[in-house]
């Protein structure tokens, strides 16, 4: 492998960015005069990355970035000291040094001029703030799904990414898995005829991932967790183990239940198969079942959302009920195709063997979701799941949740992306943030 030229990608930025953190000691600086020279070796530089949020999926993202060729993970950031330590340990082990810096505050990470991109694996209620700040700071972003806690913050992310010319990849990694792409290509190319219905089966319930759900009474926060910072823009509330790591999903101040946790996967797949990346439903109606057995968890444990699209297409998103199988199932005039992580099925079966011809619709192939992101950071191409697509994928979930919580049928203008004729429902598109936070 040819030696990589130690080009000053960072060198471009040094001396130009105001307020940048010191980057002394960076091994990648070269004089500006050398920056435009085309050397004999590959001009593609190492992409430097920081991971903000390193618990659970954040830890998985750290590992993925460590495996990614041409990427150097320079820093990790978390407000849980244990998560932080674990992440740093993984990085140090991989690189066999202790160079990886640790941070408590994401602002300090974003201020580093020597970091090209960030991977954000923070709870949903933080997505908007960190993502917008990252875009403003000139970082390309891999952001976990759903894109944001609510519609307004998702829209703010899209605007910030667009305004600052950033590359964004959503963690909707199913688009990088061949069976999902195959299923979507078959549907897009009419192998089952015109699709009139799509069934999206999501998990239901309020999973007690680590068995801490019963610890829902107020308690002093542990010393390794900065709980006030963890709350961030969410309203004041007492700490309890059931409120935080993983199971924050079941409190609507931080997440959106299973509906919003999975909308960025199977609804995203459903949209991809139907070519709906730039549009949305016309009407959404949802119902949910709530329990009060847990003192912190208030998301619906079961839900069914019906979204109607132009042309008479109906999407049913169901969680916690047995009648719709997990995954995405498109039902057309000439058959159906179902896909999930466990497999792909179709009726008639021979649809699956159908070849997509060169002149038909070919969906982008990916050799890995993180890899796709890094490639696009280099080429500035649009990723498989850019921000505006993630917003569209999440919208049936946002509107479905509003309908569940208000009991009202929501009419939606997919062009203006506005609720029609319902000022009460409109209020639910955003949520006020605790001071000093704003997006």
């Amino acid at each position: 492998m040819p030696a990589r030229r130690q080009i000053g990608r960072r060198g471009f930025l040094r001396g130009f960015l105001n307020g940048a953190a010191a980057i002394a000691g960076s091994p990648h600086l070269v004089p500006a005069s050398a920056l435009r020279a085309e050397g004999p070796t590959a001009p593609s530089d190492t992409i430097t990355v920081a991971c903000i949020g390193t618990g659970w999926q954040g830890g998985n993202n750290v590992k993925s970035m460590l495996e990614e060729p041409g990427v150097r993970l320079l820093a990790v950031c978390d407000i849980d000291a244990r998560h932080l330590e674990s992440a740093k340990s993984a990085v140090d082990q991989k690189y066999e040094n202790r160079d990886c810096k640790t941070y408590h505050d994401f602002e300090e990470v974003l201020a580093r001029a020597d970091i090209d991109a960030v991977v954000l694996s923070v709870p949903d209620h933080w997505h908007g703030i960190v993502s917008v700040r990252a875009a403003e700071a000139g970082k390309d972003i891999y952001g976990e799904k759903p894109i944001a806690h609510n519609f307004a913050e998702a829209k703010a992310i899209c605007e910030a990414v667009d305004r600052h010319g950033r590359v964004w990849q959503t963690g909707s990694w199913q688009r990088s898995v061949s069976q999902f792409r195959h299923a979507c290509e078959l549907v897009r190319n009419g192998r089952i005829g015109k699709v009139h219905r799509v069934e999206v089966g999501l998990p239901g319930g309020l999973t007690d991932f680590d068995g801490l759900g019963h610890l829902d009474a107020p308690a002093p926060p542990p010393p390794h967790l900065d709980f006030d910072r963890w709350l961030g823009p969410a309203p004041e509330a007492p700490y309890s183990p059931a409120r935080v790591h993983k199971t924050w999903r079941w409190n609507l101040d931080y997440g959106g239940g299973m509906l919003m946790d999975w909308v960025g996967h199977h609804v995203d797949t459903a949209h991809w198969g139907l070519g709906l990346d730039d549009t949305g439903p016309l009407e959404v109606e949802g119902h949910g079942e709530f329990t009060s057995t847990n003192r912190v968890w208030n998301a619906p444990a079961k839900f069914r959302v019906t979204a109607t699209y132009a042309g008479g297409l109906t999407m049913v998103i169901s969680g916690g009920y047995d009648d719709i199988r997990r995954g995405a199932k498109w039902i057309g005039e000439e058959g159906w195709i179902w896909v999930d992580r466990s497999g792909i099925e179709a009726q008639p079966r021979n649809v699956l063997g159908s070849r997509i011809l060169p002149e038909e619709i070919h969906l982008e192939r990916s050799s890995g979701h993180h890899h796709n992101f890094i490639e696009c950071v280099r080429t500035r191409r649009q990723t498989l799941t850019p921000a505006h697509v993630a917003l569209r994928s999440a919208t049936p979930g946002y509107l479905g949740l509003i309908s569940i919580l208000t009991g009202r049928r929501i009419r939606w203008d997919p062009v203006k992306q506005e609720i029609l004729g319902d000022p009460v429902a409109e209020r639910w598109l955003q949520r006020p943030m605790r001071s000093p936070w704003h997006v």
Partner: protein
């Protein structure tokens, strides 16, 4: 319970048409503390939801909640009330909420409601509270005014943009950016010269946001002035980037000149953004500007520019891609190879085939992918023609491409290739025929198989023949069966039997079944394997006796494994019926491998019967671990089923 609360409850009960059932509920909520059961809150939410769904007026309920705020209810109860009011509150709630703003313990929850409640009263409450507020409360109110896009707040926010309190100053800048309009823009413009970084950068960012709003509202000239002011060198790079983006969106073709200049910026963030924004402007002028700029860019910039040209889909970029194939920079060459897959035409066929034949690694892979992906009616004929006129590795790449693209018209050329003296050409041709040949070529393929040299080539040919036969809904295997019955050499007979099995044709089953009885081991084994790979569970009853009593122990194991594969296929059986079949299989399993296979299947059919089968293996030390896992998984599945019922 406080007197106020009692009177409120009475008033509520007196309201016409209201049921009295809410009183106990509201009493509980009044005393709610975090950590208590959420049941009353859930009930109340359900009540509100039902009312909203029915489109009922909620004035009375709003009044109740307002009184909650004034009464001696817990802070948690007040917080709950504020959240409810944020959704159903009206101007009537503003005074009570305003009264809560100055107090630290209630300010946030009050603001939560005021930010959402529409109408001038809520906005005025926030504005009135601002001068007297301090610290986080003050910042919060500023944020809420920004979120409400309250234009009347601009005079209040204007002095705050240059406040010495950094948090207030930042919030004020952001709020003005959201509010937008001429007054906000003027305030930000004035602040630009009176602030220094980091606040100045925030002011500039907000100013850009104002400009974006102005552009969207039709004031293009006003927006362009701001973009021009902030897009110049000397401004922070991300501000310049935002300004260039605004310029590109607002000025359209008018932005081509400035963006073309910025493409040569020494600042990478600005340079790459300029390329991207230029690529977003439609029309040949923007393409020409990109094409013209590419040769002057460093390698990194050229990669981005080439990718941008490809994204535009403008054929004017094609020659640049071809030229870039010989760049000294690998990333540029790679970008060019990838790009040709989208922008290429017939002339690209030999270029890409040549690259696929001579390059390595990522470039070779990109050349192949692009060759397979080339679009246009002339591509397939060009590939077919080139197969006949090329040699060596280039020809092999073209043969591969014919297969990947499924070019039916290449079948004759590939059949010729399957007889070529070069072994690699023969192999690739045979593989490609799987995708290109139709059932009408079955005889030719059978002849090739019968004439194949060596087991390996015969096997490849057999796979091709089977694949082609399967393309018919009812594979016509008569020719193959006749050949099988008349063949003398055992290896050839076995290979033909394998093909018959691979077709999955209903006519194949009797042939395979008779193969089970064959004297020769190779034939019977081939029959077992073919039945094991059957697409439906139909041959289960053929394999079970073999698993039970075939004189050859190896055949017994193969048959049992095949049986298990078929049991796992979709069927109309109940879980209990499948569990019984697996129990039968477990009784025949002599080796740990087969027992583990049964245990791995059991959880897929959770029922008491499968649990019993798994439990029975707990005492077998060779598979105890797997048995325990199966018992756990089945038990969990059964308990989930019970819960959901």
């Amino acid at each position: 319970m406080s007197k106020i609360l009692i009177s409120l409850l009475c008033a509520f009960a007196a309201e016409a048409g209201r049921p009295a059932s809410l009183e106990p509920l509201l009493e509980k909520i009044a005393a709610y503390e975090y950590g208590q059961s959420r049941e009353p809150l859930v009930e109340f939410d359900a009540y509100v939801r039902g009312s909203l769904a029915r489109g009922e007026k909620l004035d009375g309920l709003e009044m109740r909640l307002i009184q909650f705020l004034k009464a001696r209810t817990t802070l948690a109860a007040k917080d709950f009330a504020c959240r409810e009011l944020s959704l159903i509150g009206t101007a009537a709630s503003a005074p009570a909420l305003a009264a809560m703003l100055p107090r630290a313990e209630t300010s946030e929850m009050a603001r939560y409601a005021l930010e959402r409640i529409p109408g001038p009263e809520a906005a005025e409450a926030l504005r009135k509270a601002l001068p007297g507020a301090s610290g986080r409360t003050r910042v919060g109110i500023v944020n809420s005014l920004g979120e409400r896009r309250d234009a009347r707040a601009v005079p209040l926010l204007r002095p705050l943009v240059i406040s010495r309190d950094a948090a207030v100053a930042e919030a004020a800048a952001a709020a003005l950016g959201k509010i937008g309009g001429k007054a906000a823009a003027a305030a930000l413009d004035a602040a630009l010269v009176r602030t220094s970084d980091p606040q100045r950068t925030r002011v500039a960012a907000a100013y850009i946001r104002c400009a974006d709003g102005m552009a969207a509202g039709g004031d293009r000239a006003g927006a362009l002035r701001i973009y021009a002011r902030l897009g110049i060198p000397g401004e922070p790079p991300m501000i310049r980037v935002a300004a260039l983006r605004g310029l590109a969106r607002t000025a359209g073709k008018g932005a081509i000149g400035p963006l073309s200049r910025e493409i040569e910026s020494s600042n990478r963030l600005v340079q790459t953004a300029a390329i991207r924004f230029l690529a977003g402007i439609p029309g040949p002028e923007a393409t020409a500007a990109l094409v013209e700029a590419v040769p002057r860019l460093p390698a990194e910039g050229r990669v981005i520019a080439l990718s941008a040209l490809v994204t535009r889909g403008d054929a004017a970029g094609r020659q640049l891609l071809v030229d870039a194939l010989n760049s000294g920079a690998p990333a540029v060459r790679l970008a060019a190879l990838e790009g040709l897959g989208k922008l290429g035409d017939e002339s690209s066929v030999l270029v890409l085939a040549g690259a696929a034949a001579t390059r390595e690694g990522a470039e070779q892979a990109a050349a192949r992918e692009s060759l397979y992906a080339l679009g246009g009616a002339g591509i397939d004929p060009a590939i077919v023609k080139a197969i006949g006129s090329t040699k060596g590795k280039v020809r092999i790449e073209l043969i591969r491409a014919a297969g990947e693209r499924g070019i039916a018209a290449a079948t004759d050329a590939l059949l010729a290739g399957a007889r070529d003296p070069d072994r690699e050409i023969r192999r690739e041709s045979v593989r490609a025929l799987r995708e290109t040949a139709g059932v009408s070529s079955a005889k030719s393929l059978l002849d090739l198989m019968l004439a194949a040299e060596g087991a390996s080539e015969r096997r490849e040919m057999g796979r091709t023949l089977a694949a082609v036969l399967k393309k018919s809904g009812n594979p016509p295997i008569g020719l193959v069966v006749a050949a099988y019955q008349s063949a003398q050499a055992i290896p050839l007979r076995a290979a033909l039997l394998e093909v018959i099995g691979q077709t999955g044709s209903g006519d194949a089953l009797p042939v395979l079944r008779s193969g089970l009885q064959a004297d020769h081991r190779e034939i019977s084994r081939t029959a077992i394997l073919a039945l094991s790979d059957w697409p439906t569970p139909a041959p289960m009853s053929d394999l079970l006796p073999v698993a039970r009593s075939d004189p050859d122990p190896a055949n017994q194991v193969l048959a049992l494994r095949g049986y298990l594969k078929l049991v796992a296929l979709p069927s109309g059986r109940t879980a209990a019926e499948t569990a019984r079949l697996l129990s039968e299989a477990m009784a025949l399993a002599k080796q740990p491998g087969e027992k583990k296979a049964v245990l791995a299947l059991l959880p897929g059919f959770p029922c008491q019967e499968s649990l019993q089968v798994a439990r029975a293996s707990l005492g077998d030390a060779t598979v105890a671990g797997e048995a325990r896992m199966a018992v756990d998984r089945i038990s969990r599945a059964l308990s989930i089923k019970k819960e959901s019922r």
